[in-house]
Amino acid sequence: MTETLIQASPEEEKLEVDSEPSSQPGPLRPISDVEDSGDDTDLKDKQNDRTIKTPAVEKKGLFEKLKEKFGFGEKQKVITTEKVDATQENEEVEKIDKLDKITNEIHQREEKRLESRYGKNLIGKASRWLNETHIGRMVKVGGKVIGGVTAATVIVPTLAGTAGLLASVALFSLGTKIAIDGLIESVQYLCKGDNLRLNLEAAKQDLFDYARGTIKSINGQKERGEITEDKYTDELQKVLTEIANKEQQVLVQEEKRVNWESKQKMIRGIASTVLSIFLTAGTGVTLGHQVFKGSGHAVNWSFRGFSFIYKAGEQAALDAYRLAGGALAHSVGPTVSSQAFVGLGAALVGMAAKTVEECKQIFNGKEITTEQLKEIELSNPEVIDNNKLEVKDSGTDQVQPPEQSSAAASYDNEPGAIDDNIDAKFAGIEKASTEKDVQRTINNLTEILKDKQNIKDFIEYLETSGLPNGMVNRIVYFFSNPDDRVSRDELEAYLADSNDLESLDAAIIGFASQKVTSHLQGENLNPPVYETD
């Protein structure tokens, strides 16, 4: 199971597994592979023949119950009691000293550069602003990311109690999306963007140095009477011509950078949207009822997002794989099978492989190979280890419009199975939970899921609307589960006020941003304290 992005509660951290602990996340599996042994303390994992033991804690929150019931979000954290031996200690001291040196050098160098660019006074003021105001402190979210807590996890724990569980999904996804966007950008940036930016900076610096140096020299000659007025004018003319040439070089570099960034932005948009879906699903949020309605549509829809990045032949290969895996046809319930994720992972790996083609070198001068980039493996060992899918150059330049949806068809093929599955899982949740707010949520969800004709119509409409993936994604998120993300009344008000999907989407973004901001206001944004053994 992939590691969860949601912070483990103290109870979760006590989970123990009676098999060997693994540092690598296990393969994603259909939920049917995890069987509830009947009591609240043990889960039988049939595939790995092991029993996941949970302590008999006094009172369990809904998240834990969901986790036990469906097997997601297992953070099988084993607290080791092994003592670190002396050699290892020495190695770590040496390593952290080295890290200290690296980070210190980077800090000093960049601060100096920043101060020389904008002036010490402004940078000092702006730094104080960042440190002392609320809005500035948001930047310290960055500290949390360094510390290993994502923007998403900043959000999740702030939601009160289990009532916030489902509400957190949308925010969680948005937070993850932001993080992933940044990460993919970083990979792209480190590969090529950095070089382009450096080239641009170099061209600018060259221009600046030339202009400053040469003009100063000519002025000096004139002041000292070494050149006549006419000669001075001639020289100045030459300098201006040269400056114009150098400016042209800056513009060329700028244009290259802008073009490249524009293309990368498109790739990033596709990748991060889908990856955030992947992470959301893979880290414990069930796709079925919380994210994508709990029907085959949802998964098909996310796959369709990928159709943008596959050439026709590759799309066909993916379709064949999907059929072979039977992922969509048989396993879509409140969770998605591992085979479905392999498809998602393969698409991303393929895309990364394409990106790397453009990468000449990573910023430190080290050559980077396609093989290395394939290591962006989404924590899904099935993608890499089993070599189940051949990673292909996905040809992201050729963005193809999606073919007409097969979502409706697959929905029609398996409606009974999907609904039965969902109903069964919901029944399980309802039985397990005694909290009224959760009950209400589940009832609402069940009602929504039963309204399949509306779902089908809505998704079909979105699919044929030609709207950007991100927008469709957000609208599906919010409409799939009103009352917990946004009240039904509010949603209806947004709908009434919106003349088109763009404005509806803008309203949703506004709502989500407001939520994120309000949650951050109550957050302690200081860097986290690290666990030590």
Partner: protein, 110 residues
Amino acid sequence: MDTNKNIINIDSIIDKSIFELLGIQNASQEKKDKVMSEMAKTVQNRVLARILDNLDDAGVKEFEIIIDKDDEEETKKYLLTKNIDLVKLATEETLNYKTEIINIFNSQNK
């Protein structure tokens, strides 16, 4: 997996601490705090650079005047008008930096 390779694992980079990723999670807290402080300052500087780079000369002056006023609402509105999303910037810069540090560190430890 081959540990000599620069493995960029998306989940890990987001989810794990820099110390864990570099295999130095057991280093002293004092030292980790010091490094963390340097790193946070760098990220802060990079965010500042991104903000200022997004403004033209007049914008930089306006920004300076606004932060002098110490009015959070006005600052927030100003950044919004310039399409500057501080949280997004911070997250991006942090992830860039985290990835960069891992690469530098790993390349120096081969």
